[in-house]
Each structure stands twice: as C-alpha cells, then as structure tokens.
Point group: C2
Chain length 224, copies 2
C-alpha cells in the first residue's frame, strides 16, 4: 500500500495556487512566526509546492511585502467620515494614531514601509482623507500636501521603531541601551541631557504619539 502525499494544511484537498493564496499564507505566517519567516521557500512549503512556483504570482519577495502592507491597511475602516470643520485636528490625530497602531502590530512590515511607500488603493484613500481633513482646517494647499507626507512618515517610523524595540526587549534581557547611556552621562559634559533627563523617557507611548501628531499639525496649520 502507498499513501498519497498529503497537504499539511488541508489534509488532502490541495487548493489551487493564486496570488491571493500566496498573500494569505504570507500574512498567516507573519502573524504566527514573524516577518523573518515569510520566505519564498516557507510559503511554498505551506502551499505544498516548490519556491519556483510562486514566481508566477509575485515578482519576488519585495513585491510580496508591498501586497502584505496593502492587506494590513484593510484594518483601517474606509471610507472614513470627513470631520466636522471644528474638530478636524482631533479627527486627524485620531486617524494617524489608528494607522500607527495597525502598523505597530507588525513592526517589521512597518519598517519595510519606510522604504517602500505603498501605492495601493487603500493608501491612496488614506492620503486623500488626510488632505481633505487639512483642507477643512483651512491649511493652504502646499502646507497640506507637504505636511501629509511628513505626518505619514512619522506614523510609519514610530510604529517600526517602537514595535521593534518592544520585540527586542522581550527577547534580550537587558534594558534599552540608550536609556542606560542617558542615565550614565556626565551632567557637566552633557548639560542638555542633564536638564531633560527626566522628560526624555517620560510619558506613555500613546500619549507621546498624540502629542507628536498634534504638535506637527499645529506647526503645519500655522506655517502659512
């Protein structure tokens, strides 16, 4: 008697390959084992095939990451309602915080966004909403356009940085080396550090995030 090869996923019925299937498996592997394990070979193995087969659907690992980012943005409910004229600032901060939170859950993917600049429909919709919101706040068009760029950059970078630090903290036992170095700095040689020591590490992540977005928005709104 011989047993047929059996899919380790479904226990038999081998689903047909497709771009969506590749992206789906990639998302699942990322959530289960992290982005580092999202390799062409691992995805192929999960789909009971060889890595070469995936190249029919994605051009390579970089393009796959892009598709995964767009998938992640589905967590942001769109279309967003446009804010009332007087609450545009709070609403904008809110959307940016939500975006950061979504990316924060997958910091290694957020890091790839820093260099990727997604161009999928969901990302476009987000940019569009931000521009309309700033327009409601009577921000001039140039300041709005340049400002949205900076706001998004800050959201992405913060998510990548904070998230990866949390992961590193989980793994390694030691504290953040920057915090240690600040605490150990000579107050005479580093008067700025001595002055701000207590505030450099104060506040909660979310509180600082809201402050950062609000502060940047204030700068943008008054830059006319």
């Amino acid at each position: 008697v011989r047993t047929e090869p059996v899919s380790r996923r479904t226990g038999g019925a081998k689903a047909p390959l497709s771009r969506q299937a590749v992206v789906d498996v990639a998302m699942r592997v990322m959530r289960e084992d992290g982005l580092a394990k999202v390799t062409m070979r691992r995805i192929a193995a999960e789909l009971d095939t060889g890595p070469a087969s995936l190249y029919v659907y994605v051009s390579g690992v970089a393009e796959l990451h892009g598709a995964m980012v767009d998938e992640l943005l589905a967590g942001l409910p769109l279309p967003l309602p446009l804010p009332a004229r007087e609450s545009w600032r709070a609403a904008t901060v809110d959307v940016l915080v939500r975006l950061t939170t979504i990316l924060y859950a997958e910091p290694s993917l957020a890091l790839s966004v820093v260099s990727l600049r997604p161009s999928g429909p969901r990302y476009l919709a987000l940019i569009d909403w931000l521009l309309q919101s700033l327009r409601r706040g009577e921000v001039p068009v140039r300041e709005a356009a340049w400002g949205v760029d900076v706001l998004l950059q800050l959201a992405v970078a913060t998510a990548a940085e904070q998230g990866l630090r949390d992961q590193a903290g989980d793994a390694a036992g030691d504290e953040a080396p920057l915090a240690e170095a600040i605490a150990a700095a000579d107050p005479g040689a580093r008067p700025g550090l001595a002055w701000a020591r207590d505030e450099l590490l104060s506040g909660e992540g979310l509180q600082r995030l809201r402050w950062a977005f609000g502060t940047l928005l204030d700068g943008i709104a008054s830059a006319a």
Copy 2:
C-alpha cells in the same frame, strides 16, 4: 615549490584582526558594494579568515550595524558650537539637515537606525546639543525632550526613505508607482488628491526637508 597563501588585500602582510579592523572593512565594503554585501562571510574573506573568527570581536551582524552607524556619525563635526539665542531655530534646522544628509548617503544603514536607536557617544552628543539649542529657544523641558525624539525620528526616516527610493529609481526603469497612482486617481472620488495634486510632488528634497524641520520646530516651540 609551494607558494604561501597571499592576502588579497595587502598582497602578503596579514594585518592582525581587531574590532576596529572588522568595522573598517565593513565600512569599506558598504561604500563599495552597499550594505547588502556587508555579510560576515564577505568581511571574513576580505580579512583572509573564516566567518567564525569575527565572533570574537562582534556579537553578530546586528551589533556590527550599530558600530557602523556610530562610525558614520563621525561625519558630523562635534562638538558643535551652541547657537546664539536668536538664531537657535536656524541652527537646529541646519544640524538636522546635516544629519539627514550624512545618513542619506547610506540609506540602507539609515533604515537600520530606525529600529536600532543608536546609543554611541556621538549620538548622545547630538541629542545633548539639540536639547541645549531648544533650551536657548526657551522651549519648556518636556516639549524639548519629546520634540528632539520626534525630530530625530523624522531625520532618520527621511534619509532612509529618500535614499532608498533614489536607489530603486536608478535600478528599475519605471517611475515611482505612488506618483503614477496619484496622477491616475479619479478627481471625483478623491477630491483631496485632486486639490493637492500639484503640490504633492512639488519642491526639491532639501527644500521640503528644511520646511519639515522648521515646521516641526515651530509646533514644538508653541506647544507650551
């Protein structure tokens, strides 16, 4: 007759290994062939040894990247002179632009800084200078501390993003997909994009960078 093994670098005299030698070779390989080629195996080969030998001096590839960042910051002349009270804003923008420019030259290393948060002495000196400068501008201590964090994040993210995009543009023939997507968007469905279309891609990199730092500083200075 037998020929002795010959160093491919020096043609004979094999320099002793050291942490500095490892970092130096890593920096050279990065400048010549990019960060992707800075592998333990490649560095070992350049030093005429096996990869295992490097683990005496660096704990792994992550720590090596950290050391390389500190090396890169040597391009920022320190100590920086503290600005006059009335020119603190311009001086701060200047230092941040210089930092971004240095990182921009090695965008893939800048990208690793997003997650790394360097803690070397040069980075500490930079934070100290920024804090002192903001103090001269009479920025309250909490706003200064939180603000410096955001300013540095923006510098690093911008360097990584812009630099990597430039590299990608060199390699692939096609234009930035985001620019194409913006141009192709339906004005009725995306009124914000239609409104800001011309300004989203306007301006030069340096001009936008100065604007971003200045705008953020204004927000920070008025956030009291």
